[in-house]
Amino acid sequence: MELGFTKEQQILKASARDFLKKECPLSMMREMQVDTKGFSRNVWKKMAELGWLGIIIPEEYEGTGGNFIDLAILLESMGEVCCPGPFFSTVVLGGMTLLWAGSESWKKELLPRLADGNMILSMALMEPGMGCNPKGMRAKIESKGNDYILTGTKLFVENAHICDFLLCVAGEETGPSSRKELRILLVDPRSPGIHLTPLDTLAYEKQCEVVFDHVKVPKENALGLEGEVSQILEKLHEHAAVAKCAELLGIIQTSFSKSVSYAKERKQFGRPIGGFQAIQHHCADMVVAVDGARFMTYKAAWKLSVNQPAGMEASMAKAWTSEASRKVTVLAHQIHGAISFCDEHDIHLYYRKAKAGEIAFGDGNHHLEKVASRLGL
């Protein structure tokens, strides 16, 4: 049992912090809020040089060959500064899906480009009226010669406006039984018939609606073997939930430490507000929430890194961390008082990011239900 980082992991963490502090201060999030692209190509290139973009890509595809804990460390560090950009959609959603479902030739073609910063990816999964369950999916694929014809509407496609490939999930009717075979298609977002509409979100993320109107996609762009896609999506959901926990952990850790520092400085009634037990107890509750999130997240990340089944751990981590995120960021506002309600103050950036992360890949209740099922209920 070793709940802390190894030397190498500590070094990765420290260097990630240093880099982000310099290259991605909180002001970046504000700049990107009004920037149409929503990320800095310059910082993205530097991340590639550090090997971050290829962190989970094996060396044979010119990646860094790290494991899931390394990825979690980077995501945690990014959460600390609310780092904007397409890292999550590219590395976690796109990269992992390619690794699991891509043919050898796709992997050889795309993964090295992803690792060197020349391939931004995004996943088009959710649809109007659909929750986390792909069963309710309506986007459909028809076979026409060497092509698929893709039609449907996808929501919450992050960074669709800047990506080089969209990984779009849709169903192909394969027989008279109207049973649908799920496929993941690599779609060039510049293809005719694709319409993007940006969605304005609470957390300033660059989310899009993507309408596919009879979009032609070559058949060789389908990822995953027949019958395999549902499992891949399930696996992705699990990994993405833990990855999101890591990001949330950075978010709430910072929200918490900023609150403690503020409680030490801010004076009322002639003394620092941190001297009042009401504030002290809020801070103590934050410690338990944040530490719990850390242990649960890294336990799940560790299990994923050694390829052990981690469904239970992932859901437990996401349920705990989702609740902790809400609790900690609300308390952070309470401790900061009225100034925290002003746009110019930074603490609401964490409140926003925490809410988006809480919901992503299943909120607390979604994962409680998963835990209950795994308990045999």
Partner: protein, 399 residues
Amino acid sequence: MEFTFTRQEEAFREEVDHFLKTELPADWAANSMHWPGGYGTMEIGDEEKKQISRDFKQKLAAKGWLTIAWPREYGGKGHSYMEQAIYDERISYYRAPGWGIATSIAGPSILKFGTERNKQDWVPRIAGGEIEMWLGYSEPNAGSDLSGIQTTALEDGGEYVINGQKTWSTMAHMSDYAWLIARTDPTGHRHKSISLFVVDNKTPGITIRPLINIAGEHSFNEVFFDNVRVPGENMIGQKNMGFYYLMTALDFERLLVGIGGFRFVFERFLDYIKTTERDGVPLGKDPLVRWKMAEIAIKIETAYLFFWRTAEMLDKDQIPSVESSALKLLTTELSRKMADVFMEILGSYGLLMPGSKWAPFRGLSPRGYLDCISATIGAGTSEIQRNIIALRGLGLPVK
């Protein structure tokens, strides 16, 4: 980062597990009426159970398991604290009588702060499972604020004369010695005038009176000291340093969360839910029941990780302080939460006390609902734990 046991730890866990399964009566754990985290329903039982407990403890002593992480020179096994934690987890999972104040609190404190004489006098007897102790801390006017104790121990010709009253003295009537704090310098600074003693229960002048707790058990006592003369060598460590020793002793105490008990009781309740119907529908199909049980499962898992963290720290020569407070806070709040959830799920049946006709789950839930009150109060209230985390851990100002 490694969330698993080493091969050696795994083997030790297997050994303890096998021992517990073979040496305890088969239905011991299932019959336990102790609520996890509670201080008022620890196993006492009838004469037969008491005898089983005594015999069992001797077997543990013979294996050296009462003092797993103690140095070999003091009768310990010299194992790691992680192995100690693994042992504590298994012992508490099977609800076994395998721990005590003497071995878990007094022993480690004496090894840390005691004089050579203290070590010679007490360590072998504690390690051998020969003596049991009770904690003489709280007084009628000193609860959360222990530095306000009024019991005095005044020096008189190489001896100390103790006068005063202790209360909430858990198991004092079934123990051999008091692990006691008393004021040795009544005019001194609040924190620098207290000393720690080991006092024989049989010393003339000691009167122990039972206090029946809300679960109907005689676990607490109030203990009166009337000119009780204690040999000078029974003072632990240095004079007037007792309050500081006590802070560390409390850190040790807060590690004793009986972590396995939470898992054991949760698993049994889970079985109950799986096999019980309400209005013709299995209880486990009710979404609220599912969510509540999932929440408890997650809290138990988190508590386990907090628990392993403290062992990891001890193995790195750090005394968990803020960390034991966080563990204590989390587990005792969980004790409350678990009782709450069980009662809610059981509805009217949850009101049926042990022994009553129709009592589900042996009536453990209402007993737990009563005992869990003690969990967040004993060994420092939840509020005190939060104070410790905020002041010692985060460095927030006292004023």
